[in-house]
Subunit: 579 residues, 2 copies
């Protein structure tokens, strides 16, 4: 039986850390070699970290990345390595590329064909499109190598490689997470594998990078579309699997009559074969069993994405400790619990900043939460600064009523306190606003929006509740006090204030926001979904009018198909109104 | 003599205001018809405003834009109109397009070939590339129509159209301003015109849209590369000019022998002729003389760009009045003077917010400036709130020294005051930070960075001084007090503080920043320009480390080849260090 042992190294790399990434790739290559793998594959742009953005415009950066690749190549013996890097041609044009490395040198290169330029992606900004579709003969097996987006198109390079004889496809990825994407991705890969009668090995990056989280979740699907292996979600993993290449051959013979798909001459011309090695380096291998990591339930998945996003944002920006304003509400409670999972309770400080409008319940709930999380807790009442500020503004505000200015003033004093603690103690402030608030502008710029990282900015309020319940369920005890989950949401910036004074109830608001923000539905279409027209109009106007606030929001973790930020690029000055 | 009277309508349109833009296009078409123009041309995407960004992802927006185009067509009689809009095909794919309208209907469409996807541009995100290169016979003259970027490539559609017989090229634009771009653009157009022996009519948008300013500056160059007409910079203008088409014909005969450029068959196939009108609608025309607007000197150009940027940001976001914190320094003085030119003195309020560290000179200079500008002026000392805040933080800050936290606290109290005034009186706060500060992070998040619009965020400090001197020169009197220009820059957040405690002198800092930020030079290259290596390393580290601050900056006006914001997209978590 002809078999190929493939290792998929789903590692957490850092953007710009060329030498660190190279060292890590060398280390994991050693681990794969110890397991007698014939091939080890690393994610897209593993050398540079992903996405490197405008670092790619610096010639020195591209040159340094090529030097790091050579360093990796020089250290590689006894295994074939596939790794993402930035290739450059003589004109200085660059390519999102995969290198195939064997016996100390780069033996082949592949340039990504399909460059995503939608959503969070800007690859046309940097890269030229590739055209070749090489097949590498590795340990006597025909292996097609390609990059990420290339496999999302049914007529892309993987098809050409498979029809030209590739038995195994290695597709290297930097595919950011959003809710539900994992299942969709697995279905697509299973379909490609069975469509082309080829084994597809899909390796994905893991880790957080600014607003993106990469979920790992690497998979291998066989030529009949059956799952052979799955890497863990949201943590590093080395997926090792023996591929029965004889099976691919038998399957093709069996299917020969029904497969009418053929390469035309022009496409066949783009495929060329490169001989890397005829036989395995290690012919006798210790037995292994490929692991199939379990899938996570929907709230668990989001929870882990947020924890990893926070953990890596801190690690990769050189931060260790966090300050969080605890209001006793659900948002700050969930953010604090995520921070504890990401950073450890010893690195998180909760700050209660009660005002004259804070209820007794808020104060005790905040304190209770801190106790349950085991974090440091401090109380800094804002009355003194609030009174002084009102006094200072009294001449300017003469003959005006208490209103939004006075409400925001409280939020901004709190922002000042947190930022002062951050500046004094070198911590990062985590903000606690959710997506429903950010969408509608129900937040104070430089107030509750002040901070370094906006953990749940892409989490709709209704999902914040789900996360709280998930956390208590997973912990097997009430981490987030039930009182926090049960109380009606309030900003407590004036007496008796409730979110529903300003916003529709969240179970109504959130589906409207999703339809408008994530699915680009028109007002008419949303009304046709069964919502009140005046409410829909009001919500849509709030979203449009508050683009200016979002533009100054801290970064935060994308977990939906469309987050605010570079995923959704709207003008601030915008007079478009439907209907 | 065969002549064609062309009108270029360099108008200020609003993104998303489909009906308003249509009405404006109809109105200006009437003005051109009154002057017996054969053709009137409007800018790129005139119907939608430019750039519409992710509004283009809404099907309803594209449909409404097509309806607005039909409205314009139905109203057009007695003239041929060329106008930018978004075209859609049956699959829902969209194109950055020009419509040619005659006698009440759209008689032809052109789809932009070259889609810019660099700098501030994301056109691959939305549009498909066009392929045809039609020639429209208008009043008996062969006219090639194309869009913006198409003329920047020597082998683009204008070449094909000219070689296939076009005598006049109409190129419609949404080309954003930066310093010095105007001259470069005129040279390019002159070259294209003489290369192809064709008259090039270049019409550009005018106005501000978020971070961009479009400078108008439409031009017509004849077939020998001679300037025939130039529209005003930074204001609306209707450029009307008679084109001697016979001259084009003679010039081509004369040049026939030296012109060896020919269309190959494949390219010739893309050119097709569409007959619009054989003769002019108005054969007997009143005489006109084409105007050639003067070019502006460098500082004047930037000043006008900033004034227009502020004016339009207010107008297009529905704001009228501004609050500005006046420190008595050069930055806030220049911003206030720009605001007065943009909004009128009656709409600007200067706020002095002295602290225990403010010098007497700062207070009197701020007041003096306000008097000279004729704006409202108020003083709100921050001592009371500063003392209360320190007291409130005293337990947390026990046993620590006065430092950055206490400095920033003052800036943030000022930010609070300005935002409170903004919230109370419905004004917009203009921030006063310059590009040198933003680049190095020499500013306080939520402090001096708090506000709706960052007027000079793309203006290096050395240019801020030039602007101040320009303003005094242009006004013929000392608007900005000489004392303000002469004093050494200081943030006055601790006793005796000077900018040079933290930063290299601005005449050293600014060229380093320009080389690094705008020209992507490496440390080695900048050192080779003659700067001290340690200084360069320090500046580069400051720039890299402060990306997180810039990400939360208010929008502001781009005036250099590369502004911060979407013009320069760098990761926050970024470990790249050169050398």
């Amino acid at each position: 039986m002809r078999t190929l042992r493939v290792a998929l190294a789903q590692v957490d790399l850092a953007v710009g850390d060329l030498r660190g990434n190279a060292a890590r790739i060398i280390e994991w290559t050693g681990r794969a070699r110890d397991l007698a793998a014939d091939i080890v594959a690393f994610p897209e742009l593993a050398i540079t970290g992903y996405p490197p953005e405008d670092l790619l415009l610096r010639r020195s950066f591209v040159a340094d990345n090529l030097a790091a690749l050579e360093e990796v190549a020089a250290a590689t013996r006894g295994i074939t390595l596939v790794v993402g890097f930035v290739d450059a041609d003589r004109d200085g044009e660059i390519y999102n590329a995969a290198a195939v490395i064997h016996d100390g040198r780069v033996v082949g290169r592949y340039h990504k064909h399909f460059l995503p330029n939608y959503g969070v992606f800007d690859e046309n900004r940097y890269f030229q499109e590739g055209s070749g579709a090489p097949i590498f003969v590795i340990a006597g097996v025909d292996v097609g190598v390609n990059v990420c987006e290339d496999i999302w198109y049914p007529t892309g390079p993987p098809r050409d490689q498979a029809l030209a004889g590739a038995e195994v496809i290695i597709n290297i990825n930097g595919s950011p997470y959003h809710r539900g994407k994992g299942g969709f991705r697995e279905d697509m890969i299973a379909t490609r594998a069975s469509d082309y009668a080829v084994v597809v090995c899909y390796v994905n990056l893991v880790g957080g990078q600014d607003e993106l989280v990469f979920d790992g979740h690497s998979v291998i699907y066989d030529e009949r579309g059956q799952l052979l292996a799955r890497g863990a979600m949201f943590r590093e993993d080395l997926v090792v699997c023996d591929i029965d290449v004889e099976g691919v051959f038998q399957s093709r013979l069996h299917d020969a009559r029904r497969r009418k798909d053929r390469l035309d001459v022009q496409r066949a011309d783009r495929v060329h074969r490169i001989n890397v090695s005829d036989v395995p380096v290690v012919p006798e291998k210790p037995a292994i069993t490929a692991a199939i990591a379990p899938l996570l339930d929907p709230a668990e998945e989001v929870w882990h994405a947020l924890v990893l996003g926070v953990k890596d944002y801190f690690a990769k920006t050189g931060n260790n400790t966090a300050h969080i304003g605890l209001s006793g509400g659900i948002d700050s409670s969930v953010v604090a619990a995520i921070a504890v999972d990401a950073l450890g309770p010893e690195n998180v400080t909760g700050v209660s900043m009660p005002s004259r409008f804070s209820s007794e319940g808020s104060k005790t709930d905040a304190h209770e939460l801190a106790k349950r999380l085991g974090i440091r807790f401090m109380t800094i009442p804002i009355e003194e600064a609030f009174a002084a500020s009102l006094d200072m503004l009294a001449p300017a505000f003469a003959d005006t009523q208490f209103g939004v200015a006075e409400e925001n003033l409280q939020a901004r004093i709190r922002g000042n306190i947190l930022m002062s603690l951050s500046n004094k103690f070198g911590s990062l402030v985590l903000t606690t606003g959710n997506k429903s608030e950010l969408a509608t502008g129900y937040s104070t710029l430089y107030g509750d929006m002040a901070g370094g990282f906006a953990v749940i900015k892409d989490v709709p309020k209704t999902l914040v509740y789900e996360l709280a319940r998930y956390k208590n369920r997973a912990a097997g005890r009430e981490i987030i006090p039930q009182a926090v989950i049960d109380k009606p949401p309030s900003a407590e910036l004036r007496p008796g204030q409730l979110d529903t004074d300003t916003l529709p109830p969240y179970p109504v608001l959130d589906p409207i926001l999703r339809a408008y923000v994530e699915d680009d539905r028109s007002v008419d279409e949303i009304v046709a979904m069964g919502f009140d027209e005046a409410t829909v109009q009001r919500v849509v106007r709030m979203v449009d009018r508050n683009e200016y606030k979002r533009r100054q929001s801290p970064p935060g973790i994308k977990i939906t198909p469309r987050a605010f930020g570079r995923d959704r690029r709207l003008p601030i000055a915008n007079r478009y109104q439907q209907g």
